[in-house]
Subunit: 272 residues, 2 copies
């Protein structure tokens, strides 16, 4: 997939929503536990109920890893089930060097065959480069995250340049908008402007709208570019919108609310 | 395991060596491929041949992930096989927030049941704290890594304080020497002194001796404390020392060379 392809999907769906599959065996409706594959059954129902409203699914790898091998089986089956036109993001926050990084790229882009993976930039270019060799795939580099302790190190400032800006600048040099995206948390909407200045064409994956308190209109105001340039993720507020037999239609209603808001923004911006 | 327990093992074995199991199906001796479980068979032979010479095994998770489910099966079986007195390190470089981080801690400290995991600090305290709730387990936080592009961000300096020192300082505040270790690469021996100043009692996991060019004597000179405080890892130069039927005894010889060097240093320092 290219940035152009992604923008076409955004225009078609009138949505820049990613649904986050942070699927937790302790949180899914109890009746699903009678199934042989409760995690996959939950994901399947969520995907069926939301796929016309979103352009991406983000799989939070920790939730699957925590279950050991059955978790990886559910992950593989879910990836196979997601329709082709959807961007499949592995939220894995990997990051290692040289030969190890080659292996992570192989794990996610060949073995699991996802379209994009989140990466931590702490080890520098070595930890991102191997992912850029795969055409049509994206490395999504953490720049400014949405969590409270994002300030511990990301705001460390040399000569007026905070670390998250340095990361965004370097990442935009390492790969173009068809290779690199950035993670920019919705809890810092005022910082989008400075990040946009150093990466005008790149897409941003934006967590933190909803449960973490980020504001969609603010994010769009400061972060949107002429190809939208934003993928806003919501996980818990969609997939756990309901907790009984109607959980899938409750998830659909929650996703629909995001999509409506996004449609209004896209129309206002003249992007659809 | 506590820092005291670890030091006792170091004294007993006269070694502070970790053997890195970066096991790659493309690099193991060809005759093992006839086995049903070539990765486990290779690891088992390496462990049998080296366990009296080292105090830890470091499993590079990328190599197992790249193989999908059979890789995770080999990983689980290897962890079960490693003797109890050895420190088992998952070199996973994970790092995420809140509820996601809880899941990674569960994945590594419960499901896989390793003793320690490497973590990337980019997202701050949120991404380390959940790991500190497990008694007898360690979070090993990246401070200064051994790769060429470690300078991209780790040297970003605010008011004279490079990022890697800020990370070491914060990490040492988050947890004591029984909870936190730091990754400090052998390719920067002169920088150990400044890191030691902010984390005098913590153990360091030291990659980069051998293949990457780091010097053990220099590392010991600048980094050792009164409980040794160092775990020096070697992966490729041990496990791929040989490539034929004698690979295990070749690995033993390579590990023996490290152990002899370490014994001499420990004696010189009066630690054994």
């Amino acid at each position: 997939m290219t940035a152009n392809d992604l923008f076409k999907q955004i225009q078609l769906k009138k949505s820049f929503l990613a649904v986050g599959l942070d699927t937790d065996i302790k949180k899914i409706p109890a009746f699903l536990l009678d199934s042989d594959e409760p995690i996959f059954e939950f994901n399947k129902a969520i995907i069926d109920a939301t796929q016309d409203l979103c352009i991406a699914y983000k799989l939070n790898i920790a939730f699957y890893e925590a279950m050991g091998i059955p978790g990886w089986q559910a992950l593989e089956k879910t990836i196979d089930y997601i329709p082709n036109e959807q961007l499949i993001i592995a939220d894995a926050k990997r990051g290692d060097i040289g030969n190890t990084c080659d292996k992570y790229a192989e794990a996610f882009f060949k073995t699991l065959n996802v379209d994009a993976i989140t990466l931590s930039p702490y080890m520098g270019e070595d930890s991102v480069k191997p992912f850029l060799q795969y055409e049509g795939k994206w490395a999504i580099v953490l720049s400014l995250t949405s969590n409270p302790s994002s300030t511990d190190f990301q705001q460390h400032t040399q000569d007026g340049e905070p670390l998250y800006i340095k990361v965004a600048t370097k990442a935009a040099e390492w790969g173009n908008e068809n290779q690199i995206m950035l993670v920019v948390g919705a809890t810092h909407p005022e910082n989008f402007k400075a990040i946009r200045a150093v990466s005008p064409k790149h897409f941003y994956l934006v967590p933190g709208v909803g449960a973490q308190g980020g504001d969609m209109a603010q994010v769009a105001h400061y972060g949107m570019n002429e190809q939208c340039g934003l993928i806003v993720n919501s996980s818990r507020s969609i997939i756990y919108a309901g907790s009984d037999a109607n959980f899938a239609s409750d998830a659909r209603s929650a996703a629909q609310a995001y999509q409506s808001q996004m449609q209004a923004i896209l129309i206002e911006r003249g992007l659809v």
